[in-house]
């Protein structure tokens, strides 16, 4: 792998950049791999990368139906934060946060992790109590999070309206200064380049259609549109289509898939310094390095695999944005799109063994998977390499829906009474 650096960039600039090599190969599938990862999104690519770098497992294939990073990795609003309430969540997302912080350097790929701060606004007494509960819990768990008064919110995010005259005045906010955004495509490409350089085969435009099993019931091979590929272990990391893939393997997953929409405005000069999220008014916003306002909100109400939602969701999202930032009504929506998110009964992910031996699954990230990408890949690689969960992902078993040990962050942030 040719290292990226200012020196190599300058050197190439004198030669018309003809010396750069492919960032990842386009190999023919081998007959058999130690590990086959189904799904070439950020989580799958990170899993492969850490299998190779942490565990020395390099006989690995990533099988991607379309093109890598083309699903939710390339469709989300790139917000990264780790200020979750419960110990289990704090551990998982902060594990990711710690990896994010050195990721550009580790991958030798500038993923543009920008710790510009994530400010979550409180608009009613219930929000205030809930966020304070988060702040206290986070502090005790060593997670960065602090409470700001409305004036402090305004100072941190000058475009914000803290007028008492709006429908739901800002009553304060929880700020995670370490939070921010990253360039989502670069995350996929950086992991792909790093994994490929260590021997991982990235096989694009190849769909997994079935599973072959040994007489003892364990995993033997995956069937694909490019033939049967032997696999000692299989990890399914297929996000919104996990239910489909696992269905082909004969397993029914406790997930529902729904569209989640996002949009960007036309690019403008810097006018928005941080990430702002509001659960009560219900929208979130940041500005990309290119200048686009990046905006999202909740999911559509109906289960679907179609990456297209209704315009009413877009309208409601912008209602909320323009309520908090009335100066933006004259901005224009440039692009809107949808992704398919897989949601579990407690809205926390599943990183787990399955009833089929040597088949593992990593799914259920719902609307919040991007921020966890490095952490998710890191612990899932551990599970694929050792066959047992990492202590961080042990609570995220499929079994919890049977035992009742749920990790329900969304319920804990319950709506106002």
């Amino acid at each position: 792998m040719r290292r990226f650096s200012l020196a190599s960039l300058l050197k190439e600039s004198t030669k018309g950049h003809t010396g750069w090599e492919r960032q990842w190969r386009a190999p023919e599938p081998k007959k058999e791999y130690d590990v086959v990862i189904v799904g070439g999104g950020g989580h799958g690519l990170a899993t492969a990368y850490y299998l190779a770098t942490v565990h020395g497992v390099t006989n690995v294939a990533i099988i991607e139906k379309g093109w890598i990073g083309g699903g939710n990795t390339g469709r989300n609003t790139t917000i990264i934060r780790s200020n979750y309430l419960f110990d289990e969540s704090a551990a998982l997302y902060n594990h990711a946060m710690n990896l994010w912080e050195g990721l550009s350097q580790e991958l030798n790929y500038n993923i543009m992790f920008s710790q510009r701060g994530v400010l979550m606004l409180a608009h009613n007494h219930h929000d205030v109590v809930t966020f304070k509960r988060h702040v206290y819990s986070n502090k005790l768990n060593g997670v960065d999070n602090e409470w700001l008064s409305p004036e402090e919110c305004k100072a941190f995010c000058p475009p914000l309206t803290i007028s008492k005259d709006i429908r739901y005045p800002v009553m304060g906010g929880a700020l995670q200064r370490k939070g921010g955004t990253a360039r989502h495509d670069a995350v996929a490409w950086g992991y792909a380049r790093g994994a490929d350089a260590r021997g991982v085969d990235i096989i694009q435009n190849c769909e997994v259609t079935g599973l072959q099993r040994n007489p003892d019931g364990s995993v033997k091979a995956v069937e694909t549109t490019r033939g049967t590929i032997g696999a000692r272990k299989v990890g399914v990391v297929a996000a919104g289509h996990t239910g489909v893939v696992m269905g082909r393997f004969g397993l029914r997953m406790p997930v529902e898939s729904v569209p989640l929409q996002a949009l960007v405005s036309e690019p403008v000069k810097p006018c928005f310094p941080c990430v702002v999220m509001s659960n009560a008014v219900h929208a979130y916003i940041s500005q990309s390095d290119k200048g686009e306002l990046v905006i999202g909100a909740g999911t559509d109400q109906y289960n679907s695999y179609s990456q297209q939602g209704g315009i009413h969701v877009t309208n409601h999202t912008l209602d909320a944005i323009c309520e908090l930032f009335p100066q933006f009504t004259r901005m224009r929506m440039l692009r809107s799109w949808g992704g398919i998110v897989d949601v579990t009964p407690d809205r926390s992910p599943i990183l787990s063994k399955t009833p089929i031996k040597n088949l593992f699954v990593n799914c259920g990230w719902g609307t919040g998977g991007f921020k966890a990408t490095p952490g998710s890949g890191h612990v899932f690689a551990h599970m694929l390499a050792t066959g047992e969960p990492h202590e961080i992902n042990a609570p995220y078993s499929l079994d919890r829906f049977r035992t009742g040990r749920l990790i329900d962050e969304a319920a804990a942030a319950a709506v106002s009474h």
Binding site: Q23, S104, L318, Q327, S416
Partner: protein, 994 residues
């Protein structure tokens, strides 16, 4: 002369209405019917902006909404003050009128002299994706140094900084047929579709004048008439039909499921005198039985060195400026083309008096009759020539051309001087809406274009977006789409082009800047680099180079990029894939999407019938969900603490009155009502007698507490259910969901009656005395009307459902009356209560009083992870019922563990210290991070009745920890506290045990 390049006659402009527009502080002259672009060209200038990355001077590429370069900040009504300026308006579509204040963007200090142009010199470094390869050291520098620098350099115009002074409207409509685009195909389709008068037709076009490309056409005849006359007659006929709505200035931007079409109409910006209050834009949402897409096509630029210099434009756009706007793009024109259509531009330019030369990539034998026609018009045509590069910086001064050998070699260069270039790289049908409708695109190699293939919804494409370029065929296709076959004779049109991706050159391609995506400064070099680095899918190429991601959304660039990638990989073009088109077709103002849902109309404030009384009596309010509720009633000089202390005391010692109207209320009616209640709630309902009340507990499927409330049985088959204020819609939905999907066999109806019944709580030792005098038809004696009973009768002569319930621990009545009578009843009770110093109280006092009694509030003590046992309510879970929602989940092993969080009281060591709600509780604060937490404070108040602070908490294994010392977080650290039981107050007098 201020308009040196204005033609003396012709064009769709109104020379009787001269106008002036401010452009970078200078004055542009023109006429109604002009755009800013045509006025700029009339002045003799093309310079209209600086590019995104390299800050290269840019001109006007197009005459339509696909313009990538000429983006302006426009203040639409500067005379009216602030709030009407916005960035990134395309000069080519801004309908000019006097008074507009426009400015170019993305340069410093000026458009002519831009320091940022140094980036152009650094362009060998600033290639596609260069930022992924550097700016990584030192680590802290990314968001402190590099990123702010990049952010400042990026972006186009400046975002508005003050709230919008305009308003926006919304309209919903149904149509039998919606026609998109009013060019020759769309006009024909709309006419045919509306012919028999039986169908409602909507015709929408993004332009301010209908006619599409026919407006640029001064030579074609249709049915023996000049094209412009034919357009006028068609529009007049459509306007005259009552079943047709004709909408100019209306962009169809979104094609959603079930033929749900979104379009935006520009209503006010073009008006000289827009009445105050007229909406600026209107969002139309149309449900159409059928959609006819007649959206036309986009011309492709040619890709050669410096093809972005001002003065270089698309060939059809040059024709539009000459014919429609009656301005000459220059004096001396070179038409560079790989197809026939650009010859029309050459002929019209020649006829308009310009000096014209044609450079055609095609060999002479590959050309059609257009070649002879041009030559006979006296135009010099070089066939088989390539354009090597353009000369000039802020304005093109010439082009270097060279003959192409049979082997593709580039021969001797020669220079053609000129001051404008019209280029044509062929045509791309506008399949955006078809693709949005989820239709499948099909590649047509003969047209080198994607065309509509298999439909997914009820739509049909017609005309150029359907791959039909011949005028008479376009019109016939329109009629056919509209439902009739009419043969029309129209002038034959030149068709056909030979696609070229990047024009052949003898220059070192590594050093050539030939632009594919103008706005995002993506060159052919960048795309080659992306492919070299393994980005092979078009989606990867797009994302790595940003081609097609600009505000023009790649309308002029996508096919050139796709073709180049296919060529580099030596794969057929469809194998590279095409991107999925998504809404919007062109950028849409947030305001239009928001519509009237702003400010007071963002979300309605729900108020109760007693709200006006609370306002008049000085209440402070708090938002609770959508409701506005009285928080407390301060007297002069009182703060919240003092007011709440007084209110609490009053309820315990005499009587208080409280507006409980926001509580959710649902009537459950039917022969199976009791059975339904049995299944929805954890406790049993069959034995509840008519006239009795019972506290009900409801779980979600996962076994956690979802809602609670008092339920009254009004009749064998009728229950009056109350819910929490915030939970009312959720509970109703939950009930309805089960009724419809799980238990359709139950004969039960549920009705929300929250808005029909107001509830007035009268609480305290003197409550009975206040209520009793006004009640008729109800025996108010203690024996006949005990605690937890309901009676129907009259109060103050109006019907009431009178509940004997208490959420305070004191004797209490909840007077439910129809909302229309509520304020009058409230006032009557209040007047009577003055004898006992009745005190109105708000939500804060209600919270304190119930906390004193240890009553939970769902959503405060519970957070969606608490079981009935966790909050001490296991007694409400029936052991006898065969099933209820959540029962199975309660049996899961983790739900029964002893270390679950349990509801307890928690008392600060310092009785004057009020713990913070949300604070975490630990056993040992001296432990290092992560400090193990045992729970959190859920409710916390100062209780004047108890003479100290009180609080409730959810604590792991809490019921076994009574009297244990713990530590609670504070903003400064920790404070000491003791676990206690959760009942803090003992009520004297009449016993209640709610």
């Amino acid at each position: 002369m201020s308009q040196p390049f204005r033609r003396s006659s012709g064009g769709h402009i109104d020379r009787t209405q001269p106008i002036t527009v401010s452009f970078n502080g200078k004055t542009l002259h023109g006429y109604r019917g002009d755009t800013i672009a045509s006025m700029l060209i009339a002045s003799g200038s093309h310079l209209a902006g600086r590019s995104f990355k390299y800050h290269r001077p840019r001109g006007i590429l197009s005459h339509g909404s696909d313009e990538p370069n000429a983006l302006l900040s426009v203040d639409w009504r500067p005379e009216k003050g602030e709030g009407r300026r916005d960035p990134n308006n395309r000069a080519s579509v801004v309908e000019a009128r006097s008074g507009l204040k426009t400015a170019t963007q993305n340069h410093w200090p000026s458009l002519e002299t831009d320091i940022g142009a140094v980036n152009d010199l650094l362009s060998p470094v600033f290639v596609a994706g260069f930022y992924y390869k550097t700016f990584m050291w030192p680590r802290k520098f990314w968001d402190k140094v590099y990123e702010p620098f990049i952010r400042k350099a990026a972006g186009l115009g400046d975002a508005p900084e003050v709230p919008d002074a305009d308003r926006y409207a919304n309209r919903h409509a149904h149509a039998d047929i919606l026609v998109v685009g009013a060019g020759p195909a769309g006009l024909s389709a709309a006419l045919a579709a509306s012919e028999d008068g039986s169908k409602r037709v909507i015709l929408a076009d993004e332009g301010f004048k209908l006619g599409g490309a026919l407006l640029n056409d001064v030579t074609s005849e249709i049915d023996g008439k000049p094209a412009a006359v034919w357009v006028e007659e068609m529009v007049a006929q459509l306007d005259a039909r009552e079943n047709v709505i004709v909408l100019p200035r209306t962009t169809v931007f979104g094609y959603y499921n079930h033929n749900h079409i979104a379009m935006v109409e520009r209503v006010a910006d073009h008006r000289d005198n827009a009445p105050d209050g007229l909406a600026r834009e209107r969002l139309w949402q149309v449900r159409a039985s059928k959609v006819i897409i007649a959206a036309g096509s986009h011309e492709r630029p040619l890709v050669f060195e410096n093809n972005d210099r001002p003065g270089i434009m698309l060939a059809e756009s040059a024709r539009a400026f000459i014919n429609r706007y009656a301005v000459l793009p220059g004096k001396s024109l070179v038409v560079a083309t790989c197809g026939a259509s650009a010859y029309r531009t050459a002929l019209d330019a020649k006829a308009a008096g310009m000096d014209v030369k044609i450079v055609d990539i095609r060999l002479g034998e590959d050309c059609g009759p257009e070649l002879a026609e041009a030559r006979s018009a006296g135009i010099d045509v070089l066939t088989g020539h390539t354009v090597v590069k353009a000369l000039g910086t802020k304005r093109v001064t010439g082009v270097v051309v060279a003959p192409l050998g049979n082997d593709g070699s580039v021969g001797t260069r020669r220079t053609l001087t000129c001051d404008c270039v019209a280029m044509s790289g062929g045509w791309t049908p506008s399949v955006h809406l078809f693709s949005q409708s989820r239709g499948k695109l099909a590649f047509d190699a003969s047209l080198d274009a994607f065309l509509p293939g298999q439909s997914a919804q009820e739509e049909v494409s017609a005309g150029a977006c359907h791959g039909i370029y011949d005028l008479s065929e376009i019109i016939a296709d329109g009629y056919k789409a509209g439902g009739s076959d009419t043969s029309v004779s129209a002038t034959a049109t030149f068709t056909g082009f030979q696609p070229v991706r990047v024009l052949p050159t003898d220059a070192d391609p590594k050093k050539v800047k030939a632009f594919i995506d103008f706005q995002n400064d993506v060159t052919a070099k960048d795309i080659k680099l992306a492919v070299r680095e393994g980005f092979e899918s078009i989606e990867h190429v797009k994302r790595y180079t940003t081609t097609g991601m600009a505000t023009d959304q790649g309308k002029t660039s996508n096919m050139n990029a796709l073709g180049l990638v296919a060529g580099l990989l030596d794969r057929p073009l469809p194998a590279i894939g095409t991107t999925t088109f998504r809404p919007p077709y062109t950028p849409v103002t947030f305001g239009a999407l928001v519509g009237p849902s702003r400010e007071d109309r963002f979300e309605p404030v729900r108020t109760t019938a007693i709200d006006p009384w609370a306002v008049a009596n000085g209440a402070e309010f708090e938002p609770v969900g959508q409701w506005r509720r009285a928080h407390y009633f301060p007297k002069a000089g009182e703060d919240m603490h003092a007011a709440v202390a007084r209110e609490c005391k009053a309820v315990r010692t005499s009587v208080g009155i409280f507006d409980a109207s926001t509580l959710g209320k649902i009537e459950v009616v039917g022969p199976d009502a009791a059975e339904f209640m049995n299944r929805i709630y954890t406790n049993a309902w069959a034995k509840l007698k008519v006239g009795g009340c019972r506290y009900g507990l409801m779980l979600g499927e996962n076994g956690f507490v979802m809602d609670d409330g008092v339920v009254a049985r009004l009749a064998e088959d009728r229950f009056h259910v109350t819910t929490t204020t915030g939970g009312a819609p959720r509970v109703f939905q939950h009930m309805e969901d089960y009724l419809q999907t799980e238990w359709p066999d139950l004969d039960v109806f549920i009705t929300s009656i929250t808005e029909q019944w107001a509830a007035i709580a009268v609480q305290g030792p003197n409550a009975r005395k206040v209520v009793e005098p006004f009640v008729s038809d109800i025996d108010m004696s203690e024996g006949a009307f005990p605690h937890m009973a309901v009676r129907e009768g009259f109060i103050c002569g109006v019907p009431t459902r009178l509940f004997r319930v208490s959420f305070t621990g004191e004797t209490g009545f909840e007077v439910n009356v129809p909302v229309d009578y509520a304020e009058a009843v409230w006032k009557t009770l209040y007047e009577e209560g003055r004898k006992y110093d009745i005190t109105p109280y708000g939500t804060e006092t209600m919270h304190v009083l119930r906390c004193e009694m240890g009553f939970i509030i769902v959503g405060q003590e519970t957070d969606g992870t608490a079981t009935p046992d966790d909050v001490g309510l296991s007694g409400l879970v029936s052991k006898k019922k065969p099933d209820f929602v959540g029962m199975r989940s309660l049996a899961r092993p983790d739900m029964l563990l002893p270390d679950r969080k349990q509801l307890v009281g928690i008392l600060a060591k310092d009785p004057n210290e009020v713990l913070e709600e949300g604070a975490q509780v630990v056993e040992d604060p001296s432990l290092p991070v992560p400090v193990p937490m045992i729970g959190h404070v859920t409710s916390s108040y100062f209780s004047s009745n108890c003479g100290r602070s009180i609080a409730m908490a959810m604590i792991k294994g809490g019921r076994a920890r009574i009297d244990q010392t713990v530590w609670v977080t504070t903003p400064k650290g920790f404070t000491e506290a003791t676990i206690s039981t959760s009942v803090f107050h003992t009520v004297q007098g009449e016993k209640v045990d709610a």
